[in-house]
């Protein structure tokens, strides 16, 4: 064997460390949820297995409605997100506005779910900004109409909120994937054969693209069906989705509800698996349809209207998310603002003056937590990728453990993890929080880094080594500088994920280490809308700073290097 350089001797172990860091918390947490689900938790005086807890779940009023609601919203949100993301890509790729739209993706992605959901709410509710703009002139409404949006029983508002956040996520991955195909030439060939833009895209590119983002689509399915914060803000309340119900049970002072919550979490896990099966069914049907159309040779050349409306959908979503945020910023400085006034009667900085002293500590926690977990994940990711470029050890296990936290519903392992964290003596401190954040941060950072690494021409490293440079020198002086922008972007993605984490921070931090997100969600339940505006605005701005850094630092460092401009 070749002798190893010190850095790479360490790097060889990195994948195994990552596997441990990811799978131990998730599996231990799952076990900690499974045992009480079957009524086994000696600490609470129960040491015989039974199905009592499951029985308790199914006698809860409206439980079936809750379950169906979770299934429906998760499935619909994912289907619509995939459709819009693919459609926007097909309709917009290579067009004039495309660069502008893609530049907006990162900032939109960095908006935490809760802030985006709240922004959407103040935009579309009956007394929201849209209704105010057109009232009373167009509508005649002097008081807001009594229409059930958000929190509508069909979960349409919840679906919209999820779609607004998942489309940019899928789009970002699709754009990365399309970079690895010979997209524009393929599309030219299809259009030369007389196929419409959309038909050409779906026949020529979609099958290759979908294969690459399929894993992310399942992650979206799992997330959409189990989200807690978005469902609290936008979801139906009578009854609420299963995930919201679970958190309520978990927080019930009645000890016996712990067992019900655990069993409910297992039920939720099964629901997610059912969703996966349903989705795979849908995949088959759609692939069959696509293939039959392929054989039929139908051209669908007249797709101008559909193309235009898909582009419009892309802009609408962008506008809704960013507009919602801008609206929250406006609320944060609003004085009295009665319906149907389009703008506030007066402006004041009172909410900011009041919130700022209180917000300093959570901001510091968010910052420390985000920087620590994102940089640890980034360094780990670099080590894994650098050591993997030669041999591919245990890569299946590695990929599986990266998928674990994205696929397993948070509630299913966080409940168990909470007790494990106390028992193991790690307690509620920063260490425990960083470890838990890493579980969620690493997969996204790795996803982001891995794509950049794949896109880098491997021959640069070969040239450097042929010039007599060690692998360490090659990594530090050639590969990392070349990848500076994507490495910083991966860091920013990790920072944004960490900053947006709600349930893990709340449960493992026991609320003693509040972040801007846990504060924002706690406030969203009732505080003055001006204060929520302050928190949501800060919540969106902090992760955004990471993306600004990822853009500005390389731009400044390589200001005289045309070859280093963003593609």
């Amino acid at each position: 064997m070749l002798k190893q350089e010190p850095l790479f001797r360490v790097a060889r172990f990195a994948p195994f460390v990552v596997i441990l860091l990811l799978s131990v918390p998730v599996l231990a947490g799952l076990l900690g949820t499974l045992l009480p689900a079957f009524s086994y938790l000696p600490a609470l005086g129960r040491d015989t297995f039974s199905f009592d807890a499951f029985r308790a779940v199914f006698v809860e009023p409206n439980i079936w409605r809750s379950m169906l609601l979770s299934l429906w919203t998760g499935f619909a949100a994912t289907a619509i997100s995939v459709l819009i993301a693919a459609g926007v890509l097909a309709a917009g790729f290579g067009t004039k506005g495309w660069a502008r739209l893609t530049r907006l993706l990162s900032p939109i992605l960095s908006v935490p779910h809760a802030a985006a959901a709240y922004g959407l709410m103040v935009l579309v509710m009956p007394s929201g900004f849209v209704a105010r703009l057109i009232s009373p002139e167009l509508t005649g409404w002097q008081t807001p109409p009594d229409i059930l949006i958000p929190n509508d029983p069909w979960g349409l508002a919840l679906i919209a909120g999820l779609v607004a956040k998942e489309v940019p996520f899928l789009l970002l991955l699709l754009i990365a994937a399309i970079g690895q195909t010979d997209a524009s030439r393929n599309l030219h060939i299809a259009s030369a054969l007389g196929y419409g833009r959309l038909a050409g895209f779906f026949h020529v590119l979609w099958p290759q693209l979908y294969r690459q983002v399929r894993f992310a689509v399942f992650a979206v399915l799992a997330f959409s069906a189990t989200a807690v914060d978005v469902a609290i803000i936008l979801g139906p309340s009578a009854p609420s989705t299963l995930s919201v119900q679970l958190v309520r049970w978990m927080n019930d002072p009645d000890l016996a509800m712990r067992f019900t919550a655990s069993a409910g979490a297992v039920v939720q896990l099964l629901l997610v698996l059912l969703l996966f099966v349903l989705w795979m069914g849908l995949e088959r049907v759609l692939e069959f349809v696509r293939k039959s159309l392929e054989i039929s040779g139908m051209r669908f050349a007249m797709d101008g209207a559909l193309t235009a409306s898909l582009r419009f959908a892309g802009w609408l979503l962008t506008l809704a998310t960013l507009g919602g945020l801008a609206l929250l910023a406006l609320w944060s400085i609003a004085g009295l603002w009665p319906f149907p006034d389009a703008m506030p009667e007066s402006y004041t900085l009172k909410a900011w003056m009041r919130a700022l002293p209180a917000v300093m500590a959570p901001m510091a926690t968010t910052f420390v937590l985000g920087v620590t977990s994102a940089s640890m994940a980034t360094v780990m990711g670099i080590l894994c990728l650098a050591s993997r470029s030669r041999s591919k050890p245990a890569s299946r296990l590695f990929n599986a453990s990266l998928a674990l936290p994205l696929i397993v519903p948070q509630t299913a392992f966080l409940f168990g993890l909470q007790i494990a964290a106390i028992k193991s003596g790690i307690g509620y401190g920063m260490t425990a929080l960083v470890l838990v954040h890493l579980v969620f941060v690493m997969p996204y950072v790795f996803l982001s880094l891995g794509q950049a690494w794949q896109a880098l021409d491997p021959r640069y490293a070969l040239v450097a080594q042929a010039l007599g440079k060690s692998r360490t020198q090659t990594l530090l002086r050639v590969e990392l500088p070349l990848l500076l922008r994507p490495v910083l972007t991966a860091f920013a993605v990790g920072f944004a994920v960490s900053a947006g984490l709600y349930l893990p921070t709340l449960l493992v931090g026991a609320g003693r280490l509040p972040t801007i997100t846990t504060e924002a969600v706690a406030l969203a339940s009732g505080a003055n809308r001006r204060t929520i505006g302050v928190y949501a605005f800060l919540q969106a701005v902090i992760p955004f700073a990471g993306f600004v850094l990822a853009f500005a630092l390389p731009a400044w460092l390589f200001r005289n290097r045309a070859g280093m401009r963003a593609a």
Binding site: Q465, L467, K469, M564
Partner: protein
Amino acid sequence: MAELGNQQTGLTLRSVSIRLRGRLLLDLDAHVTPGSVLTVMGPSGSGKSTLLAFIGGFLDTAFEAAGTVLIDGQDIGGKTPQERHAGILFQDPLLFPHMSVGQNLLFAIPSEIRMKSERNSIAKSMLADMDLDGCFDHDPARLSGGQKARVALARTLVSKPRALLLDEPFSKLDSALRQQMRLLVLGLAKARALPVVLVTHDPADAEAAGGQLVTID
């Protein structure tokens, strides 16, 4: 030059064979004397580039390779790529885009040369040899195709390679430039007494190189 063992100086390939999932891609015995060229011809996809990867020490683990590579009689089989000092040129110049032209060269000059002034003068005189005076501080992305190719060659040469591996290095240049570069690269290799392995699908390359020709399919 002293003879080592029973071998002459230069690059020796002894019973080299490369397989992919059992399929034999190439099977070769050759000796390349300093300043001469071994040309390996074959269509794309024939696996001819794997020979260069094998010599350079970065063959993908998916391939099974056997045989011995000697440079100046020394077996380089157990060595890392950076210890082999086999300079390589690809069809793209692959100048490091984050460094200036001069930094590209300074990066390549062996670290045994410590003095900053000496390193600078080596880089500058090499650029002058290549007709690239005054390009030291330039951004490589702003050079013409021919200039880039010459910087890539200069970068390889300042690293003091013991052999030169060429992977279709002229195929992306337009025809006027191509002939010019051929003469430059082969001329310099001869002048510096470097054994050269040239992988190509262009018969004109083989013709210009002279020397031994191996064709694989």
